[in-house]
Symmetry: C2
Subunit: 694 residues, 2 copies
């Protein structure tokens, strides 16, 4: 495939032939790259720059239509290069070029396709004129994404239909695309074919052609009409997130997210699978619900960006395997039990209209590949966003949701696993748990002496110890929200702080403390009063119960056991870097994640929260088609470890329930963990010995 036009029809050659200076050469220097070289007399700047390895954008292929190839001609004296005189070392602008530059309000520049080198020159190529643009993604490792989308546009002039010439309009368009853009073996979407004849005539035989993968014509518009857009979507079990991008510049134009309406058919994946199995219309209902949601999401994102959904020329989808099955209308039944067989593991390309998505009529949907029954395209998205397989350090990636996906390794080898953490980390199965919404406790600090907590709720900047409550208090000191419950990041912090304050020990038991009013007992079970009655919306104290602690221990045990299993399988003793992906990872404090033992020991500065890396991966695959190939290779190369049936997993799980207490396992927590935490309690040691002896 050719990314760049073969501008073979430039008038250069002809003029050169007539010109006595044909063999003369001139020095051309291109900024900011600094590339330079000798170029032939009267070569166009566009071609000359290309010859020096600097690609300048051009949609119209030198037809003075698009104005994308604008450059600035620098003049004056340059220390390293001597004096390079500007405008008189270039052919003067033609009337057409001047008109177009004026139209573009860029009369200072020149269009490189129409400016021919006649002497030494220094030229600067502004960012917007560079082909192969890049966008920068902030992540654990900041990196750039080269803009090389699967959809692009070219402007082309087509031979007029003539009596006695029988190629047909599509045949003539193919000839023009071959001659002017070196595009061969093309097909045309039926819907584009239906519009072709009118577009050619309205455009007076000049059209803008939209191509998918330099292979299929998906649109033909009269004249010059620029604009290609793409949508990247992460279909999560709970949340659907969409990113609308300009495919030419890579710019993120709109971010849109919404609840997955399938939630009404079941909160977690297994209940969705059950819904599909238990009702004959179960799959259809969930399939229709997600399509409806995606159509709304696309329409909303388009509105936000000031375009129409019909201008979205491609979409890339990621999601866990169940979500992708349902999205494709495939019954997820087989994912509900061993051997967890996927219908299809590999990447797919399907027309949006075939799926019932209302994007551009010729738009394609690319779905990233999955790795295994429980590790889907969303994890592959995380991988291509973070590229651990290109790095020398051992990297652990944890994407926490109802299921946690875990990746471990480096360029040498990568391993992945899925672990059933359950909903506790998201506030589920916690007595006062709630979603991250105003009033949810998200930060907690406990005084180790008084055992009294201070906390912060979402929607209120002041910590609770600065609140003044009651009619007498000044209005500015009253909190905007009282505590309504506790969200995922809050539950992590409160349990870690309870551990640091000695309220619980390393096996998670709440310890009696007759001196503190904050530790209360109901029969044999203790509970910790996180917020007093007057600090809550309900007027009741907000408690962290023994069961809450146990549920977090189960969740973190499942996660950590998965990590440990991968470390055992890979032979990796310690990790150099930890990446927390997903919304959950963005809100928790890495220190508390480590105190709680969610992750293995690591320097705290080397723990990164990267947000929705799955969505970022979808966006990267949208902007760069080569990353799709990489995704496919990685999905086959990574070694998936099945946790569900691994006997070691059960062993590790039991061990992993304990909170970190061994200095040798968590050297980076020395000085943070309480001293006594270094002494394991009797039951813990017994259990460990039992497991070791087996």
């Amino acid at each position: 495939m050719t990314d760049q036009p073969q501008v073979s029809e430039q008038p250069v050659d002809q003029e050169q032939a007539l010109d006595g200076n044909a063999t003369e050469k001139h020095l051309l220097i291109l900024m900011p790259s600094g590339r330079r070289g000798m170029v032939e007399h009267r070569k166009s700047l566009l071609e000359a720059a290309r010859g020096l390895g600097v690609e300048i954008e051009s949609i119209c292929g030198g037809r003075l239509t698009c104005g994308k190839c604008r450059v600035n001609v620098e003049e004056g004296s340059f220390p390293k290069h001597g004096i390079l005189s500007g405008s008189d070392h270039l052919s003067p602008p033609s009337e057409e070029e001047s008109l177009l530059l004026a139209h573009l309000h860029a009369s200072g520049g020149r269009l490189s396709c129409s400016a021919y080198v006649t002497g030494d020159l220094l030229v600067s190529v502004p960012e917007e004129s560079r082909a192969h643009k890049q966008v920068i993604r902030k992540s654990a490792t900041q990196r750039t994404i080269e803009i090389a989308p699967a959809v692009r546009q070219v402007y082309v002039q087509v031979d007029e239909a003539q009596l006695g010439e029988h190629r047909g309009d599509w045949g003539r368009l193919q000839s023009a695309l071959s001659a002017q853009w070196s595009l061969e073996n093309l097909t045309i979407d039926l819907l584009a074919l239906r519009r072709l004849q009118m577009a050619l005539r309205q455009g007076k035989w000049a059209v803008t052609v939209t191509l998918w993968q330099d292979h299929e014509v998906i649109d033909v518009r009269p004249g010059y009409e620029e604009g290609v857009y793409g949508l990247a979507v992460d279909i999560g079990s709970t949340t659907v997130a969409g990113y609308l991008c300009d495919l030419r510049t890579g710019e993120l134009l709109a971010t849109e997210s919404m609840m997955n309406p399938q939630v009404s058919f079941g909160e977690d994946l297994m209940s969705r699978v059950s819904f599909a199995m238990s009702r004959s219309d179960g799959l259809d209902k969930m399939h229709a619900a997600i399509l409806d949601a995606l159509n709304h999401l696309a329409a909303n994102a388009a509105r936000q960006a000031g375009i129409r959904a019909r201008q979205i020329h491609e979409a890339v989808m990621v999601g866990n395997t169940t979500m992708i099955h349902i999205f494709l209308g495939i019954n997820p039944e087989e994912l509900g039990g061993a051997p967890f067989a996927l219908a299809n593991r590999d990447a797919m390309d399907i027309k949006a209209r075939e799926l019932g998505l209302h994007l551009h009529p010729g738009a394609n949907v690319h779905i990233l590949p999955a790795e295994a029954g429980h590790v889907g395209a969303d994890n592959v998205g995380v991988l291509i966003a973070e590229e651990p397989y290109h790095q020398d350090e051992n990297i652990l990636i944890v994407d926490v949701g109802t299921n946690a996906e875990i990746d471990l390794g480096s360029r040498a080898a990568m391993f992945s696993a899925s672990s059933p953490t359950g909903p506790a980390f998201e506030g589920g199965q916690i007595s006062s748990g709630m979603r991250a919404a105003p009033g949810a406790i998200e930060r907690v600090r406990i005084d180790p002496v008084s055992k009294i907590a201070r906390f912060r709720v979402i929607g209120e900047d002041k910590w609770s110890d600065e609140w003044q409550i009651g009619a007498q208090a000044p209005v500015e000191s009253q909190p905007g929200h009282l505590a309504a419950g506790i969200c995922g990041s809050g539950i992590i912090e409160v349990i870690a702080e309870m551990y640091l304050a000695g309220i619980i020990n390393s096996d998670g038991r709440i310890l009696p403390d007759p001196l503190s009013e904050r530790i209360i007992w109901d029969g044999r079970k203790g509970a910790y009063v996180l917020a007093t009655a007057e600090q809550t919306t309900s007027g009741d104290p907000l408690l962290i119960t023994q069961d809450d602690v146990r549920n977090i221990q189960l969740a973190k045990g499942a996660l950590y056991a998965g990590v440990k299993l991968l470390m055992n399988r890979s032979g990796i003793q310690s990790v150099d870097k930890i990446i927390l992906a997903g919304a959950f990872g963005s809100y928790i404090d890495p220190k508390y994640a480590m105190i709680l033992g969610l992750v293995p020991d690591c320097s705290l500065e080397k723990i990164y929260a990267v947000g929705n890396a799955a969505g970022d991966g979808a966006r990267i695959a949208l902007l760069n088609r080569h990353k799709r190939q990489e995704a496919q290779e990685i999905a086959h190369w990574i070694r998936y470890v099945e946790t569900a049936v691994d006997p070691d997993f059960q062993k590790e799980f039991v061990d992993a329930m304990y909170l970190p207490h061994r200095r040798d396992a968590y050297p980076h927590l020395v000085g943070i963990l309480p001293e006594r935490a270094a002494i394991p309690d009797q039951r813990g040691e017994r259990r460990r010995r039992f497991v070791r002896d087996q």
Copy 2:
């Protein structure tokens, strides 16, 4: 692409390795082909036959499921080959083979996939077991069509899903298709993917896979389930004809035709184009009408054949360019005026469901290519059915409808043209014209002395001079139908007979004959009484008017001028063979076609009526995918001559209006044409001289 399975997993190799006779060879003779050769000890008959160039059918690839590879083992003494003892020179049948043979009621035979050669053998391969079956098509040249459809089925055993193995069901199916059938680089239709998992489990990991072009999986059925069907359709302006075939055997299961419902939007092509141009919903209405008709046609044909329309796995369509444009939902507007630009000339493959056709959900529709704006896929169908481009003789093919398509040439070169004959040949623009229906006069003889005609009507075997009319006549002598009008073949005959009887002269003028009551005059215009008042349903005499004669002259002039233009362009002086295609050609008597000068001079025995050759071409392309490639090549290779704007056409047209009268131009009509016809009348000669002098 591989047409035949690589049955590499036969137990043969292993057994051979263990067998001391591995190097021993045996004589195998295959009947009826008579092929023979030495084959290795313990090779399967299936493989051994293939090695000798005899392909035996097999769907299951040696899994003892399909029973398609049955052969008969002949025993006894054969003069040429000595004594070949049968059954003891083959491995004995296994229990599975015996069971399947009994199930097939074929206990006498053997399944060649499971019978291993252990001695010299004579084997006969029955017709139904032969791969590459052929069907015979009767046409101008009787020829055979090799059955090599684009859709075929294979039976395959797939690895069961296992924990820890992550290829996914589609990946496992691909592996199985690669290993057992050498099929690589496959894709799967989304709708087939949706059914895949259930089919694999219902079939206990054995499925029948339906493939299109050995490239796309369009269906997966549990276990062994045989049956692939295809529909060939000729979308004519007036009539839509469909042919439902068994794609495995090539058998024609049902023929179904119906009126094109677009007739209500306009009788001829130009009025359809006008309808599309004059109303915003014109195209949509005609598009919907033809789809509705095609869906009815498919359903009716399927019912006739005892299958369901959903079992039609592929369709091939031909039609004139306007019909194909409308079928595809492309506005035919550009075909309404010069330069008659097609949207697309080349062949297309489109999913039936994308077009709204209710065939198999994964079915493909193949549309044959067109040649030029006025010569469409229907003419390409005629060409691949008749293959004039493979013959040494100069062949003229005339397909008469509202437009006539004309092809002329041989393997050296082919030329084509379209000529606007108008509807006269189909009874249109004729005062008593009617469609070919009961009561229509189809045969006419005129007594040259009395000028009285005898005729035959459709639906009545007796000629009109044997009719006894009136209450006194015996019932068995009364005609079943009186004359209601005259159809296409009748109008040709009556005008030719009028010419032979001297009622009209060679420039078509009705000559006064005061002695005959059959020639009547209304002012300056004459008319011929073909049927008397008592012979007609209306009770009025049935007349052939001077205008009727003129309209036939105009039509035949247009046709003949087109032929002449092609002869001039090609330098072909005389034709060796004439093929009359289309329904019209099937009913007219070639002699009268020549007397009237529809076609140039040719031996009467070398004029053939081949019926709906366009439909036959569609059927051939349906049964043999290689013919599609041939069609594409021919459509590009044939030279199209534009009649509409050729100044020579107008000259030829004027000349061609005359009825044949020069002996040198029609030597084959000597003895048939009236003597005086050899003397051109003055006006004709004048006109000819005038044209020559220009």
